[in-house]
Subunit: 300 residues, 2 copies
DNA sequence: GTCACATATGAAACGTATTTTCAATGCCGG
DNA sequence: CCGGCATTGAAAATACGTTTCATATGTGAC
């Protein structure tokens, strides 16, 4: 084709400005081309789902006309117009910001529950990261990396976090124990001495069964760490280092335990990664070995 | 899971979650398919500009492989993948992708570790929420809400998630047990019958010790649910409902267990809230009562 | 090792969507 | 009413996407 009078104008086929371009060029279009352009401008998403033939039928024209319209709009052919259309559709799809502010209600459809929970947990993570004192964290990491042994206290939901931390520390070759039995925790705490580390995890900061072993450890000279949502709670009086978790808004269907757990896990992960960095020479092979050991326990 | 082994997962080919889907499905891909998937995930915009043949050449594979990959990602063919790609490209063009892309390094300062971990976990949550099949989730919720008893199987890190779920279900008055001892799990699974629910949690989808009890439960007529990162894993053959967790990029200092746990917990939370909604009349007072029971165990 | 089997892969055949060509039609000025 | 030009769609030509199938590449058993 030796390009004749009516040809592409403007260089980039920027998808955003498509509606404007349609309006600008409409006067220079023939009747059938206008029908096509109109359809495209009115429902980009719908048209993106159609083939040339489909769009031709929809607008009561022919394939040739559709292609001609695409050309006039600045694309090499219909295929490219269609791609631009898909992009445009995606953009205005995402433009609708969800902004989930409401609490979870009893009659929320399941999809909303998923969206709200995910959003809340993301929020909790951001808050926790922002509020975490990296100096305290660094100190806790240093102590843990050098510790002879590490005891972790946690009860209820926090007990699972304690176990999570312990599992990970064990994997990099450290000696760590999680205690959720208050009596055993205390009897073990007595064994601790300077150079050892004791970590108490409690959202409320006032869980007696967790504070008690930390106090014992503290008095025996161990380095003590508290991971708590209440930096002014009773637990902190026996803690050398306090790591604060964030407290997200809770509701009847979303107990505090849920977001505090997310927050605690982030702190625990940071602690773990910090320790793994400091002890990299032993941690890396230990991690590899534990991975290897599990490999043959998989089916198929 | 009625349909075949290798099949599309999730319903909508939502463009946003494409990178996540690539990561989730990467393990079940062949080498050449992985090359294609990688190219697509790394440069959606660039790939959207290519024809099948072009993409095949770019990745050093054949057209057939490209189409196969598109199918695996949940699209009817390459044409539709390409449209989705164009949409994705347009989105991140306008959205200005922030993305902390670097892995955690051995010498990262602790503040960076916190930021990167928080970011990654947020990403994992978003991906999981996007990829979660709400129909399957709804079905699992319905089954669990009406169950006579609920058994949950999980080992290692997944064991903690299993316990987390169990703890919460117990709080709303349901009968739930977590098993991480494979033998006890199986002997308990034998007791299950129609109307009961068994839930297996395994990131790899191939943990024999978790699959076995689920198989037994399945064969005894219980409704079975699998929470796994591998929708094509061995575990799904005995699962009535499959809930897919997302697989985040992992590295030496950030083992898969970390993000899979985040993902699993979100799924488990959704399950819990869903069940709590359905059983609100009994769940609400039960929650209040358990809260009350703990109140006097706090100091000061 | 090597044999049998399964899986992965690309070349080429095939079908469909897009583009081009071209003849028919309508419109306008003389 | 006629010639010339713009518009249009049917159908041919082509580019693209999909499917098939034979070959290659492992992988586990013996």
């Amino acid at each position: 084709m030796t390009n004749d009078v009516k040809e592409t104008f403007g260089r980039a086929p920027a998808p955003a400005a498509l509606a404007a371009k349609v309006r600008t060029l409409a006067p220079s279009m023939t009747r059938s081309m206008q029908r096509v352009a109109e359809a495209v401008a009115n429902d980009p998403a719908g048209c993106a789902a159609l083939t040339v033939t489909g769009l031709a039928e929809l607008t009561g024209t022919s394939e040739a006309t559709v292609v001609r319209t695409a050309r006039l709009l600045g694309y090499p052919g219909y295929r490219d117009l269609r791609l631009a259309l898909a992009g445009l559709a995606a953009q205005q799809e995402s433009g609708r910001a969800p902004a989930i502010t409401t609490d979870i209600a009893v009659d929320d459809p399941i999809a909303d529950v998923v969206a709200k929970l995910a959003y809340d947990e993301q929020q909790t993570l951001a808050d926790t990261a922002a509020g975490l004192d990296t100096v305290q964290l660094g100190a806790a990491v240093t102590a843990a990396a050098a510790a002879r042994r590490i005891d972790v206290y946690g009860i209820g939901a926090s007990g699972l976090v304690a176990q999570d931390l312990t599992q990970k520390l064990l994997r990099i070759g450290l000696i760590a124990h999680a205690h959720s039995d208050p009596h055993l925790a205390v009897t073990n705490a007595v064994q601790l001495r300077a150079g050892d580390v004791a970590i108490a995890i409690t959202h409320s900061g006032s869980t007696g069964d967790v504070i008690e072993p930390l106090r014992v450890a503290f008095e025996h000279g161990a380095t003590t760490v508290a991971i708590t949502g209440r930096p002014d709670g009773a637990v902190t009086q026996y803690a050398d280092h306090v790591l604060t978790t964030s407290t997200a808004r809770e509701s009847e269907l979303r107990p505090a335990a849920m977001s505090s757990r997310t927050s605690q896990l982030l702190v625990v992960d940071c602690l773990f990664v910090g320790v793994a960095q400091r002890t990299y020479d032993t941690a890396a092979p230990a991690l590899a070995a534990s991975y290897e050991a599990l490999a043959h326990r998989h089916r198929r």
